[in-house]
Amino acid sequence: MGSISEQKILVELRNVDKEFMKQGLPEKVLSGINFDVKEGEFVSILGKSGCGKSTLLNLIGGFDQPTRGELHFDGMPVTKPTRRAIMLFQFYALLPWRSVLKNVEIALEPEGLSKEESRERAMKYIKLVGLEDSLHQFPSQLSGGMQQRVAIARALSIQPELILMDEPFAALDTFTRYYLQDELLRIKEQEGTNIILVTHDIDEAVYLSDRVFIMDANPGTIRKRIPIQLPKPRDRSHSDFQYYRKWILDEFNFGQKLDGLEFNI
């Protein structure tokens, strides 16, 4: 923790509110969101379906603007999406009409590289995610896990400072999910990219993050920030792991009794 707090602040939210119009009336989806993400940190945002996680991530990525409050990325106000902060979508957002290689190459187009440089860079990151044998396959010919790896390679090839992930592994089965989580940690170590991850999977949040932000719904607020002080790599069945797991579970059960979960599902 000590070393992180001295590092520079990458993302900064101050009293961020977001309202959407619903049947002509403004509805508050996010209310008074305040947090910082420091360089090098892996932060997870954990919350139930519909609590505003994706909305929050969209704001950070510049895809949408807050109704009130301030939002800075690397000290500058966020006004539109940039290549410095790349979003990784839940359903991968691969272009189904382009092969694996071309899906990565299109991301490099705006850099004005030569054909060889671009090919070389794409190949490097495709190798990094272990897909060098599927270069010319189309996304539909790949399993879900492989597709998400292509998306990761594409995001990394841009060499962004921040990757925003919106439930990136939710559509995969448990075993694939476990495997990709390990991969993600390995790649993050190697590339040093910052990651903000949105999820509703407690295990995933505990396994991956330096800090977990727990969100409440209606309107979306950050209820709790839990630093996960475990060494990496973590052991999912270790008792320390279970300690955090239970803590977070209790946080939600606590919320459940107050709100009456039965009517929210």
Binding site: F63, P81, R83, R98
Partner: protein, 254 residues
């Protein structure tokens, strides 16, 4: 195997139609001039083939069809891609399109003659009109319906305007555009007969109209037969084309 079975079923349906037809003639007791028998139509087909006129009519009709259809497709897709992205302009154009679309191309005949004369052009123009609206509308709505994720991705990657249109929007909209192309082939081909009624001196539509003029209903039916068969082939070819593009773009089955 698969083709054999298709062929068998087609044969059965062919025999079915012929017998139904013969039965109608048998029980209806119509004069031959008003309802020719299958055999007469068959003779008509043979004579058309033998004197080579059939080939000429088919050639001319297909030529007109392709010129009209392809130019409509190119113009409509190009326009559609742009209009689909410029919401305000489309809102102005949309009412015009909506009012023009339900008007039969034939109703424009006086103006088509005025501007395009006679011969090939009226048929081409009518086929153009018939194909233009379905393709334009399906392109615009395809562009509007594109998965927003692709647009967010493009924004995020800071992809340039023209790359966005050609490398993302067009291929993403293509399956739905292809659907419009498919519908348009059908509608446009249907209007071939109407188009070849205005001053054309050849083509399958002319064959039908001219035979009708000469009270040769056997040749009318022969013409109908070829229009039907060619329409079917056109439809299948565009289906194959769609599949081929799909394969190039890695879409399997769907």
């Amino acid at each position: 195997m698969k083709y054999l079975s298709i062929f068998m079923y087609a044969t059965v349906s062919f025999l079915l139609v012929i017998s139904a037809w013969q039965l109608v003639i048998f029980f209806g007791d119509y004069p031959e001039a008003l309802l020719p028998s299958p055999f007469m139509v068959f003779q008509g087909i043979i004579s058309l083939i033998q004197d080579g006129t059939l080939f000429e009519h088919v050639r001319v009709s297909l030529f007109r069809f392709f010129v009209g259809y392809l130019s409509a497709v190119v113009v409509a897709i190009a326009l559609g891609l742009i209009l689909g992205r410029t919401t305000r302009v489309w809102k102005v154009i949309d009412p015009i399109v909506q009012v023009l679309r339900p008007v039969a191309p034939v109703a424009w005949a006086p103006f088509i003659v005025l501007w395009f004369g006679i011969g090939n052009m009226p048929a081409i123009v009518i086929i153009f009109i018939a194909a233009f609206f379905p393709v334009l509308l399906s392109t615009v709505s395809a562009v509007k319906k594109i998965d927003k994720t692709y647009l967010k991705l493009a924004q995020n990657l800071e992809i340039g305007k023209s790359s966005l249109l050609l490398k993302i929007i067009f291929p993403a909209a293509f399956p739905y555009i292809a659907n419009g192309l498919h519908i348009a082939v059908g509608t446009a081909w249907i209007f071939l007969v109407a188009g070849e009624m205005i001053g054309a001196q050849s083509g399958l539509g002319y064959l039908i109209v001219d035979s009708r003029n000469a009270l040769d209903l056997d040749l009318v039916l022969a013409g109908i037969f070829f229009i039907g068969i060619l329409g079917l082939l056109l439809d299948k070819s565009i289906g194959l084309f769609e599949k081929w593009v799909g394969k190039q773009w890695g879409v399997q089955g769907s």
